[in-house]
Symmetry: C2
Subunit: 212 residues, 2 copies
């Protein structure tokens, strides 16, 4: 079996998701840090790995994969992780819940997007924090509301970790970082507490993956 | 069989994707227009359908689905549309290609995001057009580069329409609207030409779904 290599950045939500999924699969991997702050993602060696210049990139099973959601689906399909229900309608609902974060909050709050908005704002307000809060809080309130459609026991969509949990926890890390008020989101906070005690989530935490 | 209802908006890329997928599945549906420009997506009746206040929402098979990518996966799984390869690694690559648009370009250029950036920019430059072009052109250049990893014949990932085509065509509609230069993206333009001749794509075009 070929070595598994994760091109990773500690604070990237998308990398954090893949770290969680790799841990859930029990896959040992070698992390290679791509320092987004120093622009290493725009260097030729990383653009050759991924023309989008994004992390994560995962080398596994002799192939190179990009895009966190596609990588997680791959791990789910090849390692039978049970991250989504098998019933198509329930599966679609669980995917939609996850995408309400992974598609509608996270990309808009990507560092490069927030930086561009900050540059355009010409020093107005408290940027990029205002940008982050403008999108994260309403997005998570919608997530909290969507959670009402699931039997939450104790994870977002059931009694084992699923795709929605994998997307939620990194987004909450960001929400705390930008001081988003979450006090009126009890269901989401209950999931956070359960995941914090789960080894696959705990071992993926950014603090454990920051450069020394 | 229950009536299929699509809560739709003609210029929404996400709705446009679902219209294409419904056409590929040969499913007749009743469209209900949710006028994003008049704020109908923020009205209580639509928030009850989808707490995110987004289109599309699809009523089908007795369930209500949200999030275009989740809906398309549902249609693919229940109607056997063959939108993704069956091999897991190829499947992940095709998903990643689609997500390079659906996750990394489209949400950032969502009307509400571009409007917020425009408000912050306080009249600087040509907004929201500058915002759109700043993200769409580099994003599509990366897509063009990623296409090099696929046998394009004649669709993005093979000889039948797939998820990447369904995401690409609505994004190109937007690119044209915002006058993004695409002349150095020949592969992508070749896919566009083929899709324009395909009835499922042609019948989903926004011009055919605009309010009278």
């Amino acid at each position: 079996m070929s070595e598994v290599v994760l091109f990773d950045y500690w604070r990237s939500s998308a990398s954090y998701r893949v770290r969680i999924a790799l841990n859930l699969a029990g896959i040992t991997y070698r992390p290679v840090i791509v320092d987004l702050v120093n622009g290493a993602h725009r260097a030729p060696d990383h653009l050759e790995r991924n023309p989008q210049g994004l992390v994560p990139v995962l080398d596994i099973d002799g192939v190179r994969l990009t895009q966190s959601l596609a990588i997680i689906d791959y791990l789910d399909e090849t390692r039978d992780l049970g991250l989504l229900p098998t019933d198509p309608a329930k599966r679609a609902a669980a995917r939609a819940l996850a995408h309400s974060i992974a598609v509608d909050i996270h990309p808009v709050c990507n560092l490069s997007v927030a930086k561009h908005a900050t540059a355009l704002s010409n020093g107005a307000g408290d940027m990029p924090g205002d940008w982050m809060r403008h999108f994260i809080r309403p997005g998570l309130l919608a997530f909290e509301s969507l959670l009402g459609g699931f039997d939450q026991s104790p994870f977002c969509t059931g009694d084992t970790p699923g795709l929605a949990d994998i997307c939620l926890i990194p987004q909450l890390y960001n929400a705390h970082r930008w001081e988003v008020d979450l006090t009126d989101m009890p269901r989401l906070l209950a999931v956070e507490a359960v995941c914090a005690e789960h080894s696959a989530f705990a071992a993926a935490h950014p603090d454990l993956h920051a450069p020394l």
